[in-house]
Symmetry: C2
Subunit: 478 residues, 2 copies
C-alpha cells in the first residue's frame, strides 16, 4: 500500500536518529503519515463493523485466558521497552478486534445492551478527538451546554416541572444509584458531609429482592452497610409488593433503624419488571422517605407513547437513574442521575477547589458543573446521546423502543408454542426481557422437583458458549 | 460529493416510507451510506487535528453560555422530535468542534493534561467501535487481559514484588483515591461492609495542605466526614513536613480520632511537589497506618530513569493512584488504583450478582474482574495505554517525561531573567509545574504587601482569557 511504503520509509529514516517513535502529528512532515495511519485504522474498523453485522460471522472466537496469554498467531499482549512500528500497531488493532466479542452482531444478546449505533460510534470518535473534560465551562463550553439541554429534556420527559430538576452524567448506572443515596443522605442529614456517619442514627434503605445489586454496593461504599439494606418481597412477576414495603418499614423502625430512602425499580435486570411507582410514592410520602427510581433499564420506555404508562408515578420520584446506553442504544457508557431538588447535588459534593473553580471568572460560573460531581475529571458521555437524538429525534427513539418490545412479544408467543421451552412466568413481558428454560428431550419426561431443576441449571450453563452473559441466573433471558 | 448525493437520495426514499431515520448499518444497502458518513466524519476530524496543531490557529473561539444557547450561525443545541439528515449531523459535528477548546493545540496549557496523542486517539476509536464492558472475561476477553498486563507492569515499576499487587482502572484520579480510602477502611474494619460506619470508631485521615481535594471529597462520600481529614502543613516548596504529620497524628489521637490512613502526594496539583515518601512510610509503619501515594500526576516520572528517584519510597505504599492520562499523555480518562495486598479489592467490593458472576462458567472466573469494582459497567480505558505502550515502548514514555521536564527547566531559567515575572518559589522545579506571577509595568514599583497582592490577583484573572484553567489559584502555573 502506498501510504505504508511512505510511512515505512519515513520511520526508517527516523529510527536512524531517534531511539523511539516520535509523536505522530507534531513530527515534521507527520501529517501524511498520520492521515495514512488513521485511514488504515478506519478501514479496519469499517471492515469489522460490516462483518459484525452479518449473521454468518461468529459472535466470538473464544479462547481461554491462558491461550490468549501464550500469544495466539503472534498476538503478543506484553509491553515492550522499544517501540513497535506503525504497521505492527495496526496488526495489534486487528488482533484485538479478532479475539474480542462482536457486540454489534445480530446474535449478541447481552442482558441490557446490544447493537452498534453508527451515529453513537461517530460521536465517540469525535469526543476522543476533542479529548476534553467536563469539569468547567471554559474547557468544555459546548459539551457542558449539551449536557444541560439533555438533562432538562430528560427531566421534562420524567414529568418534572421546568422549575425543578438537576442532574449529571455518570460512569454507569451503579454510580448513578450511588449518587441517589448520597444526595438523599445529605438532604436529611447535611452534617454528614463534614462530620461523617458517626453523628447519624443507624439509617435504613429499602429495595426489592429483584432490584439491582448496585443498591447494596452503594450502601457498602457510603458506609451505610449492606445489612441495613432491607430487601422487600416481590410478587411472582418480580414487582415490589407495596404492603411488604410498608410492613418492612415499620419492622425496621421497631428494630431501631431510621428509614430514609426507598429504591423502586422501573425495569428489573432479569425479569424486566416495573415496580408499582404510584403506590410506592404514596408510602414514601406517608413516611417522609426519599423515593428513588432506578430506571436504568426501563427509562428508555419513557420515549414511547405506547409504553411510558408502565412508569406511571415516576414524576413523584425525588431522583431517577436513567441509562441511555441500555434501551436507547447509546454506546457504553452513558448514564444520568436526575435529582428533583435543584442545588442539592452541588451542595452535597462541592469543595470549591481553588485551582479549578475560581469565583471571579469572566463568565457565569454556574456552568462550572464539575463540583456537582464526585469525580474531578469526567469523560464526555453526553455528546453521544445528543448526536443520536439529533439523528433519530424523540420519535425515532420511541419507534426503536416499540420495535424492541414487539420483538419480545413475538418471542414470547413463539416460546409458548414451541416444544422444549418453558416460560419462567406466564404473563406477557412488560419490557424486552423474556425469561425461559430450555428443556432438552432427555429431561422432558422428568417430574417437577429439585432434581429436575438442578439438571436444568446444568443444561443452561453448558448449552451457551459465549457470550454467557445471555444466561441470567439459571434461565435464559432475551 | 458523491456519497452525499447517494446518501441523500437514499434518505429521501426512506423518508417516504418511514417517519424516522433508520439505523445506518442494518438497513438494506446501508453499507455504502455508512462508509460515506464515517469517511466524511473522519475527514472532519483529521482537518480538526491538523488545524489544532498549528500555533497560528485559535485555542478557543470563546462565547458566553447565553450566546451559544441562542444558536450561533444556526448551531442549534436543542433536541428535535424529528430526525435530522445525515448532512446536518455532520454540520453539527463541525460546529461542536468549532466552538470547543482545541486541547491538542501547542498553546493549550491545562493543569495536568495537554496534547493529542494520535495512537491514543486511534485506540479510543477502536474501543468505541468494539463497544463493550469490563465486567466479565466472556464479554471482554482481550481487554481484561490487557488490563492485567498493564497493572502487573505498573506494579513492578512501582517496585512491588511479583507476588504482590492488585488494581483496577477507574474513571479518574478522584475515584482512584476514593478506592484507596475504601479498601484501607475495609482492611482495618472488614465489618464496615455489612454493618456500616455506625459500629466503627471515629476514623481520621491525614493529607497535606497541598494535596488534591479528592481526599476530602472521598471522605465526604464514604461517610468519614471532611472534618476528620487532618490537613498537614507543608514546607515552602509544597512538600508535607514529616514532623508535622507525626504531631498531627498524636494530636488527633488525643482528640479521640482513630488514625488509619495517610495520603502522601507525589506531584502536587499546583506546585508539582513530591512529599518525602520514605520519611512518611517510616511514620506510617510506626503507627500501623495505611500509606497511600497519590501519584496521579507524578506517577509518570517513574517511567524516567533520570527522575524516578523523586518517588523514592513509593514501593513502601499500600496503594498508589497513577493517572496515565496526565503525564503520559493518554487520552482522557485513564487512571489506575494499585493495591499492594492481593484480593483485598475483590473482598471489599464483591457482591456476587448472580446474573453476571456465575461460578460455574467454563473458564477461570478469576478473570471476571468486574466485582472488584464499585461500578457495574466500566468503560475500557486500559486499551489506550496498552496501544500507546506498544507504540512508544517504556523508553519512549521515559524520553517524553524527560523532554517535558527539560522544557520546564528552560521556562524556569527564562522567567528568572525576564523583567515583569516573579517565581512563586525560587528552587528549580521538580515536575513540569512552573509557578509565577506576571507583574505589569503599572505594578512594578509598588511595595510588597496585601494591596499589591490583591492587584496581582486581579491581573492574573484578567490577563488570561480562555482556557482560564491555566491559571491556578491566583498565580500562573505552566
Amino acid at each position: 500500500m502506498h501510504w505504508q511504503q511512505k510511512c515505512q520509509k519515513y520511520l526508517c529514516m527516523l529510527c536512524n536518529s531517534m531511539p523511539f517513535l516520535p509523536d505522530l502529528l507534531p513530527a515534521s512532515s507527520g501529517e501524511e503519515i498520520t492521515r495514512g495511519f488513521l485511514q488504515e485504522l478506519v478501514n479496519i474498523l469499517f471492515t469489522y463493523i460490516c462483518k459484525s453485522s452479518q449473521r454468518s460471522s461468529k459472535v466470538l472466537d473464544f479462547h481461554h485466558p491462558h491461550q490468549l496469554k501464550e500469544g495466539l498467531d503472534g498476538f503478543n499482549l506484553n509491553l515492550p521497552d522499544q517501540p513497535e512500528t506503525l504497521e505492527q500497531i495496526l496488526v495489534d488493532c486487528r488482533d484485538t478486534l479478532k479475539y474480542g466479542v462482536s457486540t454489534g452482531h445480530p446474535r449478541f444478546f447481552n442482558q441490557l445492551s446490544s447493537g452498534l449505533d453508527v451515529i453513537g460510534t461517530a460521536a465517540e470518535w469525535l469526543i476522543s478527538t476533542a479529548n476534553t473534560n467536563m469539569f468547567t465551562y471554559e474547557v468544555s463550553p459546548v459539551f457542558i451546554l449539551m449536557e444541560e439541554v439533555l438533562l432538562r429534556k430528560m427531566q421534562s420527559i420524567v414529568g418534572w416541572s421546568s422549575g425543578e430538576g438537576d442532574g449529571i452524567f455518570c460512569p454507569g448506572g451503579t454510580i448513578s444509584n450511588l449518587y441517589s443515596i448520597l444526595v438523599a443522605r445529605y438532604h436529611f442529614y447535611p452534617e454528614v458531609k463534614t462530620r461523617g456517619m458517626g453523628v447519624l442514627p443507624q439509617l435504613g434503605i429499602f429495595t426489592s429482592e429483584h432490584s439491582h445489586y448496585s443498591v447494596k454496593k452503594s450502601a457498602a461504599v457510603l458506609g451505610l452497610g449492606t445489612e441495613n439494606v432491607v430487601v422487600v418481597k416481590c410478587d411472582e412477576r418480580g414487582k415490589m409488593i407495596p404492603a411488604e414495603l410498608e410492613s418492612s418499614i415499620v419492622t425496621a423502625q421497631e428494630k431501631g433503624l431510621v428509614p430514609f430512602y426507598v429504591n423502586a425499580t422501573a425495569g428489573t435486570t432479569v425479569y424486566g419488571a416495573f415496580d408499582p411507582l404510584d403506590a410506592i410514592a404514596d408510602i414514601c410520602h406517608r413516611h417522609s422517605l426519599w423515593m428513588h427510581v432506578d430506571a436504568a433499564w426501563g427509562g428508555g420506555l419513557l420515549m414511547s407513547d405506547r409504553h411510558r404508562m408502565k412508569l406511571q408515578g415516576i414524576e413523584r420520584a425525588w431522583s431517577v437513574t436513567w441509562n441511555p446506553h441500555k434501551m436507547m442504544g447509546v454506546p457504553l457508557q452513558c448514564s444520568a442521575i436526575l435529582v428533583k431538588k435543584r442545588g442539592l447535588l452541588r451542595q452535597c459534593n462541592e469543595l470549591g477547589a481553588e485551582y479549578l473553580f475560581q469565583a471571579d471568572k469572566h463568565y457565569d460560573v454556574s456552568y462550572d458543573t464539575g463540583d456537582k460531581s464526585i469525580q474531578c475529571g469526567r469523560h464526555v458521555d453526553a455528546f453521544k446521546l445528543w448526536l443520536m437524538w439529533k439523528a433519530k429525534g424523540s420519535q425515532g427513539f420511541g419507534a426503536q423502543v416499540d420495535k424492541c418490545l414487539e420483538n419480545a412479544e413475538y418471542l414470547y408467543d413463539q416460546l409458548q408454542r414451541r416444544t422444549g421451552f418453558e416460560l419462567v412466568y406466564k404473563n406477557k413481558p412488560e419490557h424486552s426481557n423474556v425469561c425461559f428454560w430450555y428443556t432438552p428431550p432427555s429431561l422432558r419426561g422428568l417430574p417437577l422437583g429439585p432434581d429436575r431443576d438442578t439438571r436444568l441449571h446444568q443444561v443452561s450453563a453448558k448449552s451457551t458458549v459465549a457470550p454467557l452473559d445471555s444466561v441470567m441466573g439459571r434461565h435464559y433471558c432475551i
